[in-house]
Every structure is written in C-alpha cells, then in structure tokens.
Symmetry: C2
Subunit: 345 residues, 2 copies
Amino acid sequence: MRIAVDAMGGDFAPREIVKGAVEASKAMPHDIEIILLGDETAIKTELAANGVSASQRLRIVHTTQVIAMCEPPAQAVRTKRDSSIYRGMELVKTGEADAFLSAGSTGAMVAAAIFVLRRAPGVKRPAIGMVLPTTTGRPVLVLDAGANTDCEEIELEQFAVMGKLYSEAIMNQKDPVVGLLSIGGEDLKGNDVTKRTLERLRANKLITFRGNVEGHDLFEGVTDVVVCDGFVGNVLLKTVESTARAIGHWMKHEFKANPLRLLGALCLKGALRSMKQRMDPELYGGAPLLGVNGTVIITHGASSHKAIFHAIRVSVEAVKNNVTQKISDQLEALANNSTTPPPSR
Amino acid sequence: MRIAVDAMGGDFAPREIVKGAVEASKAMPHDIEIILLGDETAIKTELAANGVSASQRLRIVHTTQVIAMCEPPAQAVRTKRDSSIYRGMELVKTGEADAFLSAGSTGAMVAAAIFVLRRAPGVKRPAIGMVLPTTTGRPVLVLDAGANTDCEEIELEQFAVMGKLYSEAIMNQKDPVVGLLSIGGEDLKGNDVTKRTLERLRANKLITFRGNVEGHDLFEGVTDVVVCDGFVGNVLLKTVESTARAIGHWMKHEFKANPLRLLGALCLKGALRSMKQRMDPELYGGAPLLGVNGTVIITHGASSHKAIFHAIRVSVEAVKNNVTQKISDQLEALANNSTTPPPSR
C-alpha cells in the first residue's frame, strides 16, 4: 500500500510533514510505503534532519510548484499542474498511490480531487468529514465541514449516507445513527433546506435516522453522524475551536492570579494535559474528502508531525476498509432509487 | 418607567422570575415599576416567599393563559389572547409598559411582537441579538440569534445596522465595527447570500464594516457586531454552550482522578468560579428583539432570578437610551436610500 503525502502543504511544511511521515514509516508495517511530494532538496534536508534518507518505503516525487493558501482554488489547480497537490491526485488516479493527504489549501484539495479524480458515480458533491470527541467517549462525525456552501436536500442526503459508511468503516460504529443539524429537535424547526431534507432522510432506507439535532447535542453523542451544509459545518467547527481557545485563555489568566492558584495548577498539570489531548483534533487523523474516486485526507493547515502521523494512519485504515468503493456503491444505489419522484415538497 | 415581566415563562417560572423581579425592584431607582404578568395567586405566593407583597412598584396583571415551549408559535399567539406573552406585548403597545421581557417560548415572543407591536417602519424582519464575552474584555453582539432562518441580503444588512445601534446604545461601544460571519476572511469566501451581503455592507454608509469574519474570530473581539442569519446564529450559540459544557464535563472528570488533583481543584475553586462567571450568559441580560415597535427582551428558558434581574436592568437601559426609536429612524433612512438599485448581483 502506498500513501502519498504533500510535503509542501500547511503552515509548518515541509518540516513537520516530513517528520510525521518518518515517524509513520517507522511505526507501520513494512508493506506500507510513503511517497513525499514536493521540492526534492527541501525534503532530503528534512529527512536528514530526522536521521533517515529516501528509500523504497519513503520515496520522494519531485514537484516544482506549490499552491498557496490564498490562491483561488479552481484557477490554481488548472494552472499549476506540477504542484504537489495536483501531482498527488494524479498518483491516486493512476494507481501509483492508494491515498493522498495534505495540510495545504482545503479549497485546492477539493478542486483538484474533483478535477483529477472526479466525483464517484452518483455523487453530486463531495463532502469533508470532521471527527469530534464527545462526552460519551464515542466520537461524532460532522459533515460537510466546508467543501460545499449552499447545499440542496439531495446533497445533504448523500452526505448522510457517506457519513454513515465512513462512521462504520473507520470509526467502527455499528449501525451509526445520523442526525440533521437544525435549530431545534422538533420536525418543524429548521430552514427551508433542512425541512425538505428531513423528509428525505426519514424515507431513506440506507441510514438509521434520528431526526433533527441541535448545537446543544454536539458533544453529547446524541448521534454518530451530524449532517449539515459546508457553510454551517465550517462555522460550527471553527466556533468549537474558538470557544475552546477562549476558555483556555481565561483559565490561564485565572490560574496565575495568585500563589495558591499557581500551586493548584501545578497539582492539575497532568489533568490539564490529558484534557488538552482529549480535545486534540490532531489525534483524529484529519478530515476525509468523501465522494471522489480515491482516498483523500485533508488535515489542518497548522498540522504538526503528530497530525500527519495520525492522518497517515487513518489513510491506511480507509484504504484497507475500502471506504471509497463502498461509498460509490451505495450512492449509486441511492441515485438509482431516486429515479422515483422524491417526497412532495 | 414601567417594565413588564412574564412571570409564567421559562423552566423555573414563576419562582425564579418573581424572585428576580423582587431583587430588581429593591435595587433600582424608585421611579421604575415592574409589572408581573401571570396567574395572580401564583405570583402572590412567590412574592410572599420573597417577603414582599404587590405594590405600585411591583404590580400584578392577572392573565389566565400560558403559551408552552412546544406550541406552534403563530397559532398560539393567535388563539391565546389572554396569555402572559400576548398581554405583555399589549401593555407595550398601549404604552402601559415601556418594555416587556420573558423567558418563555422564543418563537411565541417573536410572533407576538410582530403581531401586536408590528415591525418598526422599514424593517423587513426583526432579529434577536445575543451578547458573548471575548478575551479582549469587550463583548460581541451576534445577530440574528434565531428569529429568522433563510435571510436575504437586505435583511442581513438591516441586522448590521440594528446591531451597530444596539452596540452603541447599550454596550457603550463607540463606532462599533461590524463583521459578516463567513467561512474565511477573504471576500471570495462564503455562501451565495453572504457574498451578496458583503457588497451591500461595503456600500453601507451607516456602519463601519470590517468584512468577513470567521468562527475563529468570535471570542477574539475582532469586531463588536457579528451578522449572520438566524439558523447559523442559533447553531453557533448552541455550539458555544455545548463546547463549554463538554469542557466543563471533562474538567470535572479529570480533576477528580486522584487526591493530588482534588487538592489542586480545591486551590483553584475561586478561579473556576470566576471563569464560570465570566462566561455566564445570565449576566448579559438576555437577548433584545430588535426591529419591532417596542422594547422586547428574550431570556434563556432556563433563566434564574439572576438572569431576570439583569434582563430588567438591560430593559431599563434600552428604554433610557431610546434604542427602539433610533433603530426605526436609521432603518427608515436606509430603506429610503435603497430605492436606488442595489449593487449588481
């Protein structure tokens, strides 16, 4: 199995990316190869810094271009054919790699995946899945986390099916329960699209559907999958980060206010560390792009070597479990069933 | 000045509502009267429990009906004319009260406000404003927090103007900066409606506009006002609550893991209390319903006496500062200017 990794993507590339790849290469079975895409000289330098050199299990594919975070994605993908992102997708398309992951521009990753790999049969729009911890210990998958704004009900329905399959295959959830993100638990609550989507999800035989869920329910493990459009999903996930960061800020401020509190904070050092870990998005292995013909994982722009390590681990799982094929099959089935008229509006 | 309070609305009504009203009555200048709406016997019992009886400064208006949280708002408002919510709005309409506040059904409050008080001249749809703390110490006003799903750009533009005026008048912000909630700081980011709204807000002379803001920026005080539709706003605010609650849950769990940590938590008791206070939504005095002909404040369903106390305080401020009239004037001006064609789509 071969996992392609964009060595040039993210705020701390290539240093953290290469470091994470080296760690993964050491930790994983010998039949797993990692392909680092990017500037060969820079990657070699980083490999050396980690005490290794390029090998069959840690190969370099030299690329000359980089897509920056701020570039308009579609244009960048069309014009930068020798960028690490474009070439990574090509490796997946030609079968030279089984999966591709990057901490680079999310927009460019989505655009390149659609452009090079194409949507899986039946899929209208691919979605980004994002895993969050819950207080029950069972993580929840939120999708779409930002690939598509302005979704129609058929798209949200596909997200529900893709989310269910990913939750089963990668998160080991038996018969995952799907919820539709809305502004109240009752069927009447929601906006125009969620109200129409609710009917479709109730009628969908491929999923176990719980109905509307709210922001309140997010961390309580009420459902295993939460479906929303990419605008709402992105706002939601950034709000979670923002809230956690603000609480951390206030905690630091309060915990330093006097010597007694400093002592208390010292006693709680381990507790604070394990809290941080519990909420650490890097442990969840990045966000899968679901609904394209290939396994694609997008990690946070600020990814450290640890995030890359876990993203490689998750990529391997996704390939092993054949998630991409399963999604195609089920969505094709869904598309074929949908030739009967959808529920009345 | 007379503030009408729905004694029957909220999870802990009438007990907490009456208690909060009694506390406010004691703390406030003598020219401020509080009118409690609801079942007279129940209110009298609660007044007695707080060691007071009805008086000119703490009057009872007996009502016979209650609108439950789960009732479809529009229908409830049309049929329950002797409910505390409907009667409260009537008191504002007739001038017998200067403001009305309730911890009851948000939907019913919005419906009753529109039905009885009517939209302010020029206002398309009223919005609920919600105040959040930030790490800079300057709170931020998010609107709409849930009155309207599926907003058009002209509505979001009106929210921006209403938010600016409220921030100035009640939050004492000089020249408040307005941001549009989106999924990235760049102008290209957003959904169809936010992209169209961005152009309008840039062209709007009544506000100081910063451009797109993200969920990431929420607690960092990047802007004083954050504009979004009520679906997104509601998801956002519930996500903040949910995240804070989950962190609290994990903290408790970790802090009890061993005796050393228990000792640490003991040393930090004061710090944890003041953190909780810092984030306590009850201190912010409820959410104003902006854009109707009258001062209306909606508080959390789980409001305690403290929330009611602060909501009464904020109501008094809003009346004193003539917020309702200011909003009408400016939105009328905006509506008149908008007879020129809006920027091209």
